[in-house]
């Protein structure tokens, strides 16, 4: 990965989740030591074998994180003075306040100086973070999705401040998903994909479609997922009657972007509908609602035409199976055996394994032994601790469990995350098989290649709303749709 950042410019970094943005930034601020390569600042090479957070600070590289790293109970001047080696062991409140004020004036970063940080608005807190970075002499200021927590007017103020910083000769690195912002603020755009910097160009004249194409790639980088040239699944063939319907579904999320607002979607018998989007636009929330662990604030789920209570057990009884790439937390219980994990979801109503308050271990062993053979899971010992399974085998076990009993509806969220190519292909084959057998499959995926390869129809999820992807859209068009550019 090569990247050049010039003083006096705002440099935007674009990339899908998993493209390497975070890793790159962690390298720059010293949290991750690179395996190879060189780092030069103003032409001076740095010794990367001794690269550390302290070295990054000395070099003048500062990061403003999405989550505030200020002491909430302290005022801004106190936060600036906190841990500041200058001034020796003493903290001089008046001098600190004057220094903070001077700095704030210089860059027009207005922040209340006498209130504790936790009484400030998110925008003010962010300005305080920037102030602290500047106070310690930041030459390179890195902002990680800085507008995620801001209102539009606060974002405008932030952009004005960033421009002033740029004009003062500092380098600003701006990480974002939002195309419109990048077009507004950036002087230069670098696009990361699968750990490489695939383009670094002046921002002027770059269109949304071009950026979308750069970001999502014309062809998949080898090893970055299933092959993109896979013949797309037949599109436009008439699906059967709707099996799974979401009507006006809304649900709360951790932030503005991931809140679900009025989702309508119908998945027909034999259909695979792919929900694609940039991570953090409500995919996780949608998955959790469909698994029954997040209560919708509005709307309902219908299975086979009948409304179903949004809770894990009713949904499962109605025939909705849930397959998640989030293995560690959602799917399997480490520390329980393969047999126990196979029986886990039926602990209330599966009479094969649980009868009259008793867990029939022998029955679970027999059932899982069959599944282990069918899916060639290694090792095929029913009493093996699930925690020691490899990623691929664990996911196969989860697939075996969820497909057990041929559920009519299957919700698969990033079902191949972390799997090698062969295992991923195996899972995709099973999804197609289920659809061919008449199941309705909803595939929520942050891997566009996967969705293109498997789904018969795509919908984009952007800020918690669904937008149909017109059949025959190319990557560029899909990319700009996902980035929220006006169609």
């Amino acid at each position: 990965m090569d990247l050049e950042i010039t003083p006096g410019e705002v440099h935007a970094l674009l990339g899908e989740n998993g493209a390497g943005k975070t890793t790159l930034m962690n390298v720059l601020v010293g949290l991750v030591r690179p395996d190879a390569g060189r780092l030069e600042l103003y032409g001076v090479p740095f010794d990367l074998s001794r690269w550390s957070p302290a070295a990054a600070v000395r070099a003048g590289i500062r990061m403003v994180h999405q989550r505030s790293a200020l002491v909430p109970a302290m005022t801004v001047p106190e936060n600036l003075g906190f841990g500041d080696p200058r001034g020796g062991p003493w903290f001089r409140p008046r001098r600190a306040r004057e220094a903070a004020q001077a700095l704030a004036r210089r860059y027009e970063l207005e922040v209340p100086l006498d209130r504790p940080v936790d009484a400030l608005s998110p925008g003010q807190r962010q300005r305080a973070e920037i102030l602290r970075a500047l106070d310690r002499g930041a030459n390179v200021l890195i902002l990680d999705e800085p507008t995620a927590v801001l209102t539009p007017s606060e974002a405008d103020a932030l952009f004005a401040s960033l421009r002033r910083l740029r004009d003062a000769g500092r380098a600003v690195v701006f990480i974002s998903h939002k195309l419109a912002e990048v077009e507004r603020i950036a002087d230069r755009v670098s696009v990361l994909r699968a750990g490489r910097c695939v383009a670094s160009r002046p921002a002027r004249g770059l269109g949304a479609a071009e950026l979308g194409r750069l970001m999502l790639g014309a062809a998949a980088v080898p090893g970055a997922g299933p092959v993109a040239e896979h013949p797309p699944a037949p599109r436009g063939n008439l699906p059967g009657p709707p099996r799974l319907e979401l009507r006006g579904l809304s649900a709360a999320g951790p932030d503005e972007a991931s809140r679900l607002c009025g989702i309508d979607l119908a998945v027909g018998q034999g259909e695979i509908v792919g929900v694609v989007g940039i991570d953090g636009n409500g995919q996780r929330e949608l998955e959790e609602v469909l698994a029954g662990v997040r209560r919708p604030t509005q709307g309902e789920i219908r299975v086979g035409g009948a409304p179903v209570a949004v809770a894990p057990r009713p949904l499962r009884r109605a025939g909705v199976a849930h397959l998640s790439g989030d293995r560690d937390s959602a799917g399997l219980v480490p520390g329980m055996s393969l047999a126990e994990n196979f029986a886990l979801k039926g602990s209330y109503d599966d009479r094969r394994f649980f009868r009259r308050g008793r867990f029939d271990r022998a029955a679970a062993r027999r059932a899982v032994a069959q599944a282990l053979r069918r899916f060639s899971i290694v090792p095929d010992d029913p009493d093996f601790d699930c925690a020691a399974l490899s990623g691929g085998n664990a996911q196969k076990l989860a697939v075996a469990r969820e497909l057990d009993g041929d559920p009519p509806v299957l919700v698969a969220a990033n079902p191949t995350r972390g799997l090698d190519v062969a295992s991923a292909r195996f899972v995709h084959e099973l999804l197609r098989e289920r659809a061919a057998a008449g199941a309705a499959v909803l595939l929520i995926s942050s891997d566009l290649d996967e969705a293109l390869a498997v789904a018969s129809r795509l919908v984009a999820i952007v800020r918690g709303s669904l937008h149909p992807v017109p059949p025959g859209s190319d990557r560029g068009a899909i990319g700009s749709l996902l980035l929220g550019a006006p169609a």
Binding site: G335, K345, Y348, A387
Partner: protein, 338 residues
């Protein structure tokens, strides 16, 4: 198994060192310790009488730990059980058939402990109060409730000492040779808890919650509910220990009834690796230590508290070893995911 033995042996070595540091000859002291706990019927009686409450409270702790709930309140739950059993036996309804009094007192003990555990459980599930804090604090509540009771409503009619009246014979646990039936009850409950955890559907869900609350939730199991249930069940087990103490050993309620069984219980549970059947030898080990410590103090003059070193060592070693194991497991999983 080897790990448990190593912890126990390391603990004993530290006790010997502590005795030496206190200025006593370790040899005679340890001899007194062994003689007072294992040699002869009287020693075994003392050991078994200590083992019963340790096993019951150990099960209380282990059951909760299995569900991911840190129950540090077995002591308070034990006292609540003792209090409830005494209240029923000495102030219960007059005219009830005598044969009913014994079982009723035991049941009252279980109920009292369960209520005490459930209090922490409800605080946790409804308000998100950390059970570590609430169970520890409830221990003090229980200690003071017992003090209040024996100086007030449950004080003996003669009124000489701050203690309850002697329990009526009908309320006392039947004797089994030199020990009381509570020993048998504790053994039976160890088997029952083992069955519940590994062959019962409630125990299956309880373990799932303890190992991965998020996966349990996706499987339709409400982790909050099971956390509260574990605390209530654990409270009932510890409450039974208290009921057995007053109906089988002390025959009265008074302050300082328990020499800290509920705290030693944590070491019992950890040494037994939270396995109900392994808790039996583990409780026996600590029971013998408790009994032997008394003999050591009487005969050699070494303070009985010296043996508490074993608990500390066992708790530290068990937690350090299990943390190490979890760490290596995570490392393996991360490696496999790569």
């Amino acid at each position: 198994m080897t790990r448990a033995l190593a912890s126990a042996v390391a603990g004993l070595v530290c006790v010997a060192a502590a005795i030496a540091l206190l200025g006593y000859a370790p040899g005679p002291a340890l001899r007194a310790l062994v003689a007072g706990s294992l040699l002869g019927p009287a020693a075994w009686t003392a050991t078994l009488l200590k083992t019963a409450p340790l096993l019951l409270t150990g099960l209380a702790v282990a059951l909760c730990f299995r569900c991911g709930v840190w129950n540090i309140g077995a002591e308070g739950q034990l006292l609540a059980g003792a209090l409830a059993a005494t209240a029923l036996a000495t102030r219960g309804p007059v005219g009830a058939p005598a044969w009913l009094l014994g079982p009723a007192a035991i049941l009252a003990g279980a109920l009292g402990g369960a209520l005490f555990g459930a209090a922490a459980g409800l605080l946790r599930s409804l308000r998100g109060v950390s059970e570590v804090i609430s169970t520890i604090l409830l221990n003090f509540v229980a200690i003071h409730c017992v003090a209040l009771a024996v100086q007030g409503p449950l004080r003996e009619v003669a009124g000489a000492y701050p203690q309850s009246d002697a329990l009526p014979i009908a309320a006392q646990l039947p004797a089994l040779g030199r020990v009381h039936a509570g020993v048998l009850l504790a053994l039976g409950l160890a088997l029952a808890v083992h069955w519940l955890l590994f062959h019962g559907s409630v125990g299956f869900r309880l373990r799932a919650v303890g190992l991965s609350p998020r996966a349990a939730r996706f499987a339709g199991i409400a982790p909050e509910r099971y956390g509260a249930l574990a605390l209530a069940l654990g409270g009932a087990l510890a409450g039974l220990a208290g009921a057995c103490e007053v109906t089988g050993v002390t025959r009265r309620l008074y302050e300082g009834l328990s020499p800290g069984y509920g705290y030693t219980a944590i070491a019992v549970a950890l040494l037994g690796r939270l396995h109900p059947l392994a808790l039996i030898p583990s409780a026996l080990f600590f029971g013998a230590l408790e009994a032997g410590a008394g003999a050591m103090q009487r005969e050699v003059g070494v303070p009985a508290e010296a043996t508490k070193v074993v608990q500390a060592v066992v708790i530290l070693l068990s937690t350090a070893l299990s943390v190490g194991r979890a760490g290596s497991r995570r490392a393996r999983a991360a490696e496999a995911a790569r």
